[in-house]
Structure formats: structure tokens, C-alpha cells
């Protein structure tokens, strides 16, 4: 039987997978193997529910409930010395479980340790902003909203940041195609020429690998440009070559192909 792939994930898929191939795992260590992390985890566990915790590639990963995110990060910042929020964003698991996974990558300069605090939220749920604790979350949460459409409660300015303000759709969702959707294809046409020009111009070609051999009919015929759609079957008059503006430049005569003589015999 063919392996099931979720239909609502349009990312590139492996062309061939050995059906008996079992992926190896990146090793996870128990938190108790590192005393600094163990103490941190105890401090978090004392006040909040911890769903899962392990160490992977020298960093501790802690899963918490999404409703606790602000309080946990506050605790981690103020009591456990994790003074910088390096990064935060989300992962789209909608095809698999209908959830987003949100991660906060934190750094403690005093302990030289990094932890990752993670939580899951449902597809239509919102997450609370940690912007009051870390100003850097202001932009990261905006980026997360921009890319995934995850609403952030109590954010001071939840607007798109990388995409245009009037964009529709969220690019990093797994359901969003790499070339963009229908909206993306018409976005610039509508903006620049107006909706009424759609029939004339057509949708934007967003497949960068596509080569349209008919596209060369206009830019390849320099000096003989015609409106798109016009038949160009060779009856256009010959335009002589000219390299300067009309009249030439002071002290230099304009090159005129008609009047000039091309010497082919150098011993003439």
C-alpha cells in the first residue's frame, strides 16, 4: 500500500522513499543528565505543568501548556536568568494534528545555556504576547502572524511585517503553494494596471523556472517592438543602428549607419 501523505500539505515531497526505511532520530538525553537544566526544569515544574522535557543537541526543550506561555517565560527570564529571547516562531502541524507548534528560543548568558520553550495551539486559537517581557517579541510575533496567521493577544501593533499590508493568505502555511496562490498571481497586475486590465495582461508568471518561448518575441527584437499580440512576420522597415540621441553630442558626430562606409578590405 502506498504511504499516506496528507493532502493539505503542498510542499515538495520526496520523489522516492524506501518503504522499509526507518528514519534515525537525533538523540534525546534525559534532563537529569545536566544539573543546570535539571535545576531549571525543577523551578518550572514547581509552578507550571510541564508536558515533556528533554535535552537535544545540548539544548533543553520544554513543552508547556499554551495558556502558561507568558508566565513561564516571565519565570524563566526573571528567576532563571534567561535574559534574551533569541527567536520565536511557529511550525505548521495542521495537516497532521490541526495544531501550530510555537517555540521560544531563549538564551542565558550567565549560565551559557539555551533552552527552547514550546507549546501547541489549535488552528483557530490565539497565543498571548510576550512583548511586555521581551521587546524583540514585538517583531517576531508580527512575523509569525504575517507568515502563519496566528493571532497574538495583547500585541501592541499586530500588522503584517514582511508581506504587503493588503496581502491575503499566509505564506508559510503548508497549504500555501511555493509559487503563491491565485491572489498572488493577480496582486501586482491589479495594483499596477487595475483589475480591468486583467484580460489584457494576464496573471503574473510566478514559476521562476518557467521559460516561455513566446516571451522572446518582444524583447528579442530590439528596435522593432510592437504591442503584444501584433503579428510580427517580417514586414517591418529596417531601422538603422544609432547610438546617440538625435543630433549627436557636442564635438562628436552622431553615428549614421546609412551614411557611413563599412570597410572590409583593409588594403584598399
Amino acid at each position: 500500500m502506498r504511504a499516506y501523505t496528507p493532502k493539505d500539505d503542498v510542499q515538495a515531497k520526496a520523489y522516492y522513499t524506501d518503504r522499509f526505511y526507518v528514519s534515525p532520530q537525533v538523540a534525546k538525553q534525559d534532563v537529569s543528565s545536566d544539573e543546570v537544566f535539571a535545576a531549571d526544569l525543577e523551578a518550572i515544574k514547581a509552578k507550571f505543568e510541564v508536558l515533556e522535557a528533554y535535552i537535544q543537541v545540548e539544548q533543553m526543550v520544554v513543552y508547556i501548556n499554551a495558556k502558561d506561555n507568558v508566565d513561564v517565560i516571565k519565570l524563566v527570564k526573571e528567576e532563571l536568568d534567561y535574559t534574551q529571547l533569541s527567536e520565536m516562531s511557529a511550525i505548521d502541524w495542521i495537516a497532521k494534528s490541526g495544531q501550530f507548534e510555537i517555540f521560544y528560543q531563549m538564551l542565558s548568558m550567565g549560565k551559557r545555556k539555551r533552552i527552547r520553550i514550546k507549546c501547541f495551539i489549535g488552528k483557530d486559537e490565539a497565543i498571548n504576547s510576550v512583548e511586555k517581557l521581551f521587546r524583540s517579541a514585538d517583531w517576531s510575533e508580527r512575523e509569525m502572524y504575517d507568515m502563519f496567521g496566528i493571532e497574538v493577544n495583547n500585541h501592541p501593533f499586530l500588522k503584517r511585517i514582511l508581506m504587503p499590508y493588503d496581502w491575503e493568505g499566509y505564506p508559510l502555511l503548508k497549504t500555501y503553494p511555493l509559487e503563491g496562490d491565485e491572489f498572488a498571481a493577480w496582486y501586482e497586475v491589479d495594483k499596477i494596471y487595475g483589475k480591468e486590465a486583467r484580460d489584457i495582461i494576464g496573471p503574473e508568471i510566478r514559476d521562476t523556472a518557467r521559460v516561455d518561448r513566446y516571451d522572446s518575441e518582444r524583447f528579442g527584437r530590439l528596435g522593432h517592438e510592437v504591442p503584444k499580440g501584433t503579428k510580427i512576420t517580417g514586414n517591418e522597415p529596417k531601422t538603422p543602428l544609432a547610438y546617440q540621441e538625435e543630433g549627436g553630442v557636442f564635438m562628436i558626430d552622431r553615428f549614421d549607419e546609412e551614411k557611413s562606409v563599412i570597410i572590409t578590405d583593409r588594403n584598399r
Binding site: A12, A14, V57, Q84, E87, M109, I161
Partner: protein
Amino acid sequence: MQHQNRLRPFFENITFDRDDNEMILNFGPQHPSAHGQLRLMLHLQQEMITKSHPDIGYLHRGMEKMAENMIYNEFMPTTDRMDYIASSSNNYGFALAVEKLIGLEVPRRAKVIRMLLLEINRLMSHLFWLATTALDIGAMTVFLYAFREREYLMDLIEDYCGARLTHAAIRIGGVPLDLPDNFIADMRRFLDKLPENIKDYEDLLDTNRIWRMRMEGVGVISKEMALSWGCTGPMLRASGVAWDIRKEEPYELYSEVEFKVPVSDKGDNFARYRIYMEEMRQSAHILYQVADMYEETIKNNQTDLMAHAPKYISAPKIDIMTQNYSLMQHFVLVTQGMRPPVGEVYIPTESPKGELGFYINSQGGPYPYRLKLRAPSFWHTGILTDLLPGHYIPDVVSIIGTTNIVFGEVDR
């Protein structure tokens, strides 16, 4: 300072809703001092900024989305286009993240060559920073001098990999090429002259009245603000936090070389300028040591350039051309891509601009399930929201200059 009884402008058909002096100035996105496509909406009270709103995204190419649709090796040249002033640092950050995910150990000579590339890139980036910032302030001589030195470094890189700007000079598992014969000698000749050059820049700038007035006490970032905004690199070290990932969480061979981490507690533009200058000297110091290391690898006959991991890394060319199994493996790795284990990593490296992190979530497929690029400039742009209010319009240019933002990595 305007007078209270100033002449009020009179327009026949226009009535003004507001009766204050506030003006909104649109700075960019095509401003020559914006170092790329940065748009700032500045609320002004006369010349003073009361509110600032950076608007980014003009160079957004969706690299994270692209990464999800590319095999790991395919993504490498795309990372060049992040911080295109020091593209090998991006290559390296990505390669290191994937190596940690797989659990690869890179051969010694490859490590040495990577160190050389990283520090040359740091010098290139800092020289570029100095040149453009000095130009923004009006010191054109420094611009020309710094670009001259940067040119030598670009020639060195060109000697190595053929490219000057987008190097793609590092592979997952090692480096593609050995250094050309003349490389170390050329680099030493350049480094011997570098202290003189740096002294020239400093002679032109350090006691320059205009430079000091534009730099000192301008754009002061407090320690708390720098930490809260996620500042890293020189931006953080100028604000009194001695944190350099090369020193604190050493990767590659940084634990074997000796260098100092310059720190300042002033937090202003001038402190950042001093840190960039000092870091250039330290980079040169590291490069001397790494050059010796390279010669040692020759002596010890450590010739491997790529890690040996047949599941993930293609065999050396000679094996591919002579051994059937290596050829098959190579074919699979090129057409289908490597399949790292299931798991996730976040690997920070100290790029010239600050902490460059790659978060990779792999689900065991040939494409990353999620790849998040943590680019330092993103937050160094964000901090302009809080940093610019209280400053005057000319300060905007010098502050943007010393934040050293590159829009390839802000917008990604």
C-alpha cells in the same frame, strides 16, 4: 525653535485638521543611507523624532518557504543572499546546523579553511561597514581606502572559490576545495599591511571633529534595551555585555585560537565604531594563527576536505569516478538529497553582524520540515522603533549606519 507668533501659512482650499507642528516624514525605501530597502515613517516635532516606525519587507523572498521545498544542499547558495556582505558566514551557519543535526565531525583541514573564510568574511564585512558609514557621515576618503582593502580580500576569496560576493564556499560536511598555492602567502602580505591601514582610518576619524560629534552620545542603547531587543554581536558588546559566541560557546576551532573580545559600556555610535575597529585587529590576529594551523595540517598530511559519512555526504570525486558504490550513493544524494535524522536543532554562530541562528526541524525527509533563519539584522532594525525617538533627523543616518543592517537578512 519656532516662535509662537510665527506667520501662519494660508491655503485657500485646505483646512488643516491638526494644529500642531507634527510632520510625518517618509524616509526611504530608496534612501541612499538606508543601506537597502528600509522605509522609516518618522513623526517629527520640528527636527526631532517623536515616533519612528520601521517598515521592512521590500526584499522579502521567502527563504524559509524556499528551504522547505529544497533539499539541504540545494539551499546552500540561497543562504548567500542573506547577509551578502559576508556570505560565507551564512553558508557556514547553515552547514553547521545540518552537521549538528546529522552528528558529523568535519576533518581538520576543512575546519581550518572554514575558519579562514569566516574571519576573512568578518574583515570584509567590517571594512564594508566602515566604508559605507563613513560615506554616510561624509568622510569619503575613508570610503575609498576601506573599499581598497576590501577589494584585496575579495580577490583572496575569488582565488579560493571564484566568486566575490556570493561565495557558496562551504559545503555540508566540509569545504569543496583546498586553498590555492599562493593563498596563505597573499593573505599574510595583506595582513602585514592591515594594521597600517586600520591606523590610517583611525587617524582620519578618531580625532575628526565632525565624526565625533555625529557619533559620540548619539544612538545610546542601554544594556537592558539591547538585551530586551535581542541585540547581538557588536550592537550588544557596545552596550556593555561581553558576549561573543565564538568565545562563550566555541564552535569550529575558536577554542584553539587566542583573541580578545572588545567591549564598551557607552552604547553609543562611537562605541560601536571602536568595537568594529578593534574586531578587525582581532580577526587579523586570528587569521595569523589559523594560517599557521593550515601549514600544520600540510605537515601532518591531513588532506581530507569532506567528512566521511556515506549516508549523507558524497564520497570524494576520485571514489565516485572509480567505485561503483560511491557513484550510486552520489547519484542518490544529488537527485534525492540527504535525509537527516528526525529531530530539531537551533545552532547559533557569531556572524559579523551578530548571532546568526539556524533552526531546523527535520522529519526525516530530504526537505526540512521547517527552517527558521534567525538573522541579527532583523532585531537591529526593530530596535530603531525605540532608539530613534528623541534624536534628530541627521542622527537617523548615523544610527542606521552603526546598526550595520543588511536587508538581505532582515527580509530574508
